[in-house]
Symmetry: C2
Subunit: 377 residues, 2 copies
């Protein structure tokens, strides 16, 4: 008997687009596993595409490929034609239509609401989905790093929410932590290098290159956000750290995390343009960082931009770590997480590998969806 999992995807740019491609290319694999993903809706920030009869119909693979093609050109879903039995619903009706879809399927066949956007605007639809007993899968970090009230509501049905790809892309960090937690093994400490960009920057600094040059190279390689300060601020790492800390039961908010930004406030996005920062701002930071790299080296250490979760504290910033530790040996853009617990007391459980990229992130989302199959009729 084939399990059917109806999927509603919010956010079909980068990660979401790869997810749709993976869903289509895994059809025969999933059939062998006895599962079929029925994509019953896809939305971007402006529009929702749905079959006219969502209970009977789904968006077929040809149409999903067309969605991917349109999104890969950077166009909005609005440009898609209605085609055969499908409707394109535009803003503002798209939100109420999405809610109606959740209500209809949440109560009948079950529904997996998948959020691959990077926006807080999905929160209302996610909370509604939880209320209705739908399953929720997130690659989007923002809903999980919002207020504790939002968080508590989102994780109300612990088994119905998955969010592996919010930390370390497809790396099995959340799944592994959940296993450790459910086995009653108390986690004492987590140390992680959770930004591919900052991992690359830190390991390049070791070789004596100036920060300004390394960041420029990272930008050229496509490793950074369009404004590299989005990486250098440490906010992205802090979000991931908060997600891990909350998973461990710590009731913290973003404001309680001590974050070390790699640039001073005076060089912030409100006060300096990207161009100005890259041409004139960042060079002023080279000397200080160079000194820190040298001091670390004289201690047998290297600098890493890490998060440290321990007790009730979460800290995010540059740390000296021994050259010879798993963290110190990390090179390039890999992520690494070290988990210390009763079972992994002296030597941590280490999970390491590519922690970014649309393909890998989407693979993590897909594994999350498949892992929900037992909750569907």
């Amino acid at each position: 008997m084939m399990k059917k999992i109806p999927v509603l995807l919010m956010g079909c740019g980068g990660v979401g687009r790869y997810l749709l491609q993976h869903i289509v290319s895994c059809r025969s694999l999933h059939a062998k596993m006895g599962v079929r993903l029925r994509v019953v809706g896809v939305s971007d920030s402006k529009s929702l595409v749905v079959p006219i009869d969502v209970l009977k119909e789904e968006l077929n693979d040809e149409y999903l490929s067309e969605v991917c093609r349109v999104k890969s050109t950077g166009s909005p879903l609005t440009t898609l034609g209605g085609l055969g039995g499908y409707r394109v619903v535009n803003d503002p009706e798209s939100r109420s239509e999405t809610k109606a879809l959740e209500e209809l399927l949440g109560k009948s066949t079950g529904l997996a609401v998948v959020d691959c956007s990077a926006s807080m605007e999905t929160i209302e639809l996610l909370l509604k989905a939880v209320d209705l007993g739908c399953c929720v899968v997130l690659a989007n970090k923002k809903p999980l790093t919002s207020t504790m009230e939002h968080y508590d509501k989102l994780v109300l049905h612990l088994r119905r929410i998955r969010h592996e790809s919010t930390v370390g892309a497809g790396l099995p960090v959340i799944a592994s932590l959940n296993r450790i937690i459910s086995s009653g093994d108390p986690v004492h400490r987590i140390v992680g290098s959770l930004s591919g960009t900052l991992g690359y920057v830190m390991s390049e600094l070791e070789d004596g290159k100036p920060l300004s040059q390394v960041v420029q190279a990272a930008k050229t390689l496509g490793y950074t956000e369009p404004d590299p300060r989005d990486d250098l601020s440490g906010m992205d790492v802090a979000r991931k750290a908060l997600i891990l800390a909350r998973l461990l039961g710590k009731r913290l908010i973003m404001d309680s995390i001590k974050i070390e930004s790699l640039y001073p406030e005076a060089m912030g996005p409100g006060l300096m343009s990207v161009e100005d920062f890259l041409q004139n701002g960042i060079v002023k930071l080279d000397e200080n960082i160079e000194g820190r790299v040298k001091r670390a080296s004289s201690n047998g250490c290297v600098l890493r931009y890490v998060c440290v979760i321990e007790g009730s504290s979460v800290q995010v910033g540059i740390r000296e770590v021994p050259k010879d530790s798993p963290l110190g040996r990390l090179r390039g853009s890999d992520n690494i997480v070290e988990i210390y617990s009763r079972c992994y007391e002296k030597q941590p459980l280490v999970i390491q590998g590519a922690g970014a990229g649309n393909d890998t992130t989407a693979a993590g989302v897909l594994a999350d969806i498949i892992d929900l199959q037992d909750l569907f009729p």
Copy 2:
């Protein structure tokens, strides 16, 4: 609403005993998660203890602690009194009673049959459990490394079998591989150091110590089996490699694995006593290994006892690996697994940590049981 998972435990020596302790000590944690494990039967190779009315009763925590106490002294379950509403059923009736228990619960409330033995004798009861739709959780490697016929029957209901602790103890190797598989990310190659004992031996050899001395020290530290040849033969690593290979869909049997034993046949258990091997046999192997260590070192490499799974081949034995690779940097008794796939192509996904020990192994089994909760009413 509290989910109830009835558990039948086969094998309550080392790992099984720790599992019972973990189950008892996690009561309030699991209650918060909405789950309750009802232990409805515990067996060793000779006896089964069950409540008189398994549908209504379970073995209470006081009795489970008594089971742990008795087993920790090395005594058989037979020595336990029947106490209140419990029965102790001895061999040969214990097997038919176990089967009756599986039938009764498998069809009504569902049942998780947990095998923490290290024996092939449980296979009949496991296959019966699968037939009845029970869930199966294994720490026991032998059933999964038996014939393909046995294997196919055991994994018939993919979602109802878990066996994380058969490879790397509690390390999330199987869970991670299952995620990679279900996301359609093809695994090209797995390289692993999956024996804590051989990991320790190999890293000690690096320092120039003779094999005989290292093995003797490992035995004294309690790192080896009573007969260290059980570790040195590589059979245990081969079993783990076969389990990983079969998970990837490779239809292989133990005989198709090329295994390099660290001692020659003439020093095998049938031909030489343990004492003779340790006093007179193993020293004859020192020179050869010392030469290999030196040759590796001159290539910038160290020796590791690894499994390599690639294409249709599984190989188990000593390999030279670069000093500077995750495998080469491995020290002590940690396990490590490197997984290469489309998403982890140049740099592997690495999972590393303690891969042995009753506590850690039992934690992996417990996480497996909890992860089955959605299959119970």
